[in-house]
């Protein structure tokens, strides 16, 4: 079985991020990680490899040269090979273009199953997986929390719905996006780290993926970033004083009613 895993390298949640003076771009401290939700996708692919014979896991990202580090992390965890689709000098803001490029790669590479995180924790778009599935004309299920193999042509997936859980049987090829709770991503063994350090990661020019030039052209984006703003500072925490817990709760309820007006 050929499993493709699409990943993204994102800024570490603790990285220092500044808005540049043009208000349209960001300066991000050099601290990057494999996207939180994509780690679940990589882990799930590795677990499937343990269940299905002759499974090959290919990891791919559309990103800059720095993103090779995230690809190596996936190899260290247990992926077999990785590709970087180099986005240098190309559009990176329009998810539609990213999805077309990744779908182009998937067509060229071939696949039985595609996994990716439900969303990237930087832009929070959460639409790449869905769009890739659409471009490839394959079924998809978003934010799965469980994946079981029925046979090599069929999978059983679960996802949370309002007030409960839904189980679906899905014919392959298909695309699933992974949600927290599906597994616990592993810490790489040193043998994996060594393999990752030595791995040759081919860099693909997106213009070789058979997409029309106007699709990936620098000006192809239908989305423009107008500005970035920092979130408003939170008001200071108020400590509710009182002699007894009962008194404190009374005061809290009073404040929630009269000041916060939420009761």
């Amino acid at each position: 079985m050929n499993i493709l895993v699409f990943i993204k390298q994102v800024a570490d949640p603790e990285a220092r991020i500044l808005i540049k003076s043009d208000n349209k771009s960001l300066e991000i401290e050099n601290k990057f990680n494999l996207n939180f939700f994509d780690e679940f996708a990589v882990e799930e692919a590795i677990r499937l490899k343990g269940k299905i014979k002759e499974t090959k896991i290919t990891v791919c990202t559309y990103g800059g040269k720095k993103a090779i580090e995230a690809l190596r992390t996936a190899i260290a965890m247990g992926a077999d090979q990785a590709y970087l689709i180099d986005n240098t000098d190309l559009d990176t803001e329009d998810p539609l273009i990213t999805a077309k490029i990744l779908a182009g790669f998937a067509k060229k590479e071939g696949f039985d199953l595609i996994l990716c995180g439900r969303q990237a924790i930087d832009d929070e778009n959460g639409n790449i997986g869905v769009m890739v599935a659409e471009f490839l004309k394959i079924p998809h299920v978003s934010a799965i929390t469980k994946l079981d193999v029925v046979d090599e042509k069929k999978m059983l997936v679960e996802n949370d719905i309002e007030g409960g859980r839904e189980t679906k049987e899905v014919m392959l090829p298909a695309l699933f996006t992974t949600q927290k709770g599906i597994n616990e991503p592993r810490v790489p063994l040193i043998t994996g780290v060594m393999k990752a350090m030595k791995a040759n990661i081919p860099v693909i020019d997106p213009t070789t993926l058979g997409l029309a030039k106007e699709v990936i052209d620098k000006n192809a984006s239908k989305i423009r970033i107008i500005s970035y703003e920092t979130p408003k500072g939170r008001p200071p925490v108020r400590v509710i004083e009182g002699e007894t817990p009962e008194e404190k709760v009374k005061k809290l309820i009073q404040l929630l009613r009269e000041e916060a007006k939420v009761l």
Binding site: E69, A76, V187, P188, M194, P236
Partner: protein
């Protein structure tokens, strides 16, 4: 001149940093408070394979270069120096002589299991009356049939009370001073070999440090670790620079841990209506700390590069150990000042870094001894 880490070195640094954040950092405070060897963490962490860091791939190691080793030592000490000491003992000093001189049988019995974390290793130099002054070693090894008989007591032995084997420095001829010193392997269960007092330490808690007693311990000739008698001190010289640089890297790790937490605190702690990081006197502290840590890291990497290249690194290794440790002492102190009174409470972390840093003053050579060594080498014989 190129100061950049290779892509592989960067990747390794990132992976080990993430691993430490995930596995070690959350347990650091508990390790310190309990002051017990963290067996569960030991099993989980060593299962990843890092104990073979320095050794060739053919025997299950990673064959990491010296820069990567330094990044590893720094990162794991950033997580918990109590845990780091035990890990690094198995990686470096505790197994060095076995790898270099051990027979196939010794390697099978001790080295390879130690690389997998199944056995705990240690190295015994220090005695109650001798540390840096190796010539004052009083533990003796006397030829006895097809082996050696060892008598003496070692003190301040990292992993000592829980070790499965140890490399012991002993004199085979006290009249020869340094030229009478040699190394021997003693394994747990050998009659006469026992552990004595376990030290209750100010810092580096979680590492079990203590006394090892050799009471008429007989070991076979195979356990003599060397090419020929009298070269023990020379062999020490072959690894000493790496050990000193490692100590400096650990100091840097403690400093970085303290610095990171102080930085978080300075961003969040509000005084007089704004985060304290807005005040110039706090900013100055970060400017100084960052400058010092960068300088220390450059010295350590430079020394590691020299060791890797086979150059004479004696002075830079001693200087880097000394400088990085002094930087560490400065940074952990500033960390407590930034935290204010909270730093004085056991439930917060700055006091742990403050206590841990002290040990590195002594391990790897006291600064009084190192300064004399450096000065003597610079001035020469007059």
């Amino acid at each position: 001149m190129d100061f950049t880490l290779t892509e592989q070195q960067e990747f390794f640094k990132k992976v080990i940093g993430d691993t430490v954040d995930r596995m070690v950092v959350p347990k650091a405070q508990e390790i310190d408070e309990k002051d017990e060897f963290p067996w569960e963490l030991w099993r989980e962490f060593t299962a990843l394979g890092y104990l073979g860091l320095r050794y060739p791939e053919e025997i299950g190691g990673m064959n990491a270069d010296k820069i990567m080793c330094m990044t590893f030592y720094e990162e794991i000490a950033r997580g918990s120096v109590g845990f780091a000491q035990s890990v690094i003992m198995n990686i470096l000093m505790g197994t060095y002589f076995l790898y270099r001189f051990g027979s196939d049988s010794i390697k099978e019995r001790c080295l390879y299991p130690a690389m997998r974390g199944e056995k705990i290793a240690t190295m015994c130099f220090t005695e109650d009356q001798s540390g840096s002054d190796l010539g004052a070693t009083r533990t003796t090894a006397v030829k006895d049939g097809n082996g050696w008989r060892i008598n003496g007591t070692k003190m301040w032995i990292t992993n000592g009370p829980i070790c499965d084997f140890c490399t012991v420095l002993a004199t085979t001829d006290p009249s020869k001073g340094l030229k009478g010193l040699n190394f021997f392997l003693v394994e747990k269960g050998t009659p006469g070999f026992s552990s004595g007092q376990v030290l209750n330490k100010l810092g580096c808690r979680g590492t079990v440090t203590g006394e090892l007693v050799f009471d008429n311990v007989w070991i076979p000739d195979e356990n003599f670790l060397g090419d020929e008698l009298g070269k023990g001190v020379m062999y020490v010289g072959d690894i000493l620079d790496e050990v000193r640089l490692m100590t400096g890297a650990m100091a840097l790790g403690i400093a970085k841990g303290a610095y990171n937490e102080a930085l978080e605190f300075a961003k969040k702690r509000v005084a007089f209506g704004k985060p304290i990081g807005n005040y110039q006197l706090i900013r100055e502290k970060f400017a100084d700390m960052d400058t010092l840590m960068n300088a220390a890291r450059l010295m350590i990497y430079y020394g590691a590069w020299m060791v890797e290249e086979g150059m004479d690194s004696r002075l830079i290794a001693a200087e880097a150990k000394m400088f990085a440790t002094e930087v560490c002492l400065k940074v952990v102190d500033e960390g407590t000042r930034i935290y204010g009174a909270n730093a004085f409470a056991y439930e917060y972390t700055p006091q742990r870094y403050f206590r841990d840093a002290r040990f590195l003053l002594y391990g790897g050579g006291t600064h009084e001894v190192l300064k004399d060594f450096i000065g003597r080498n610079i001035i020469g014989k007059l």
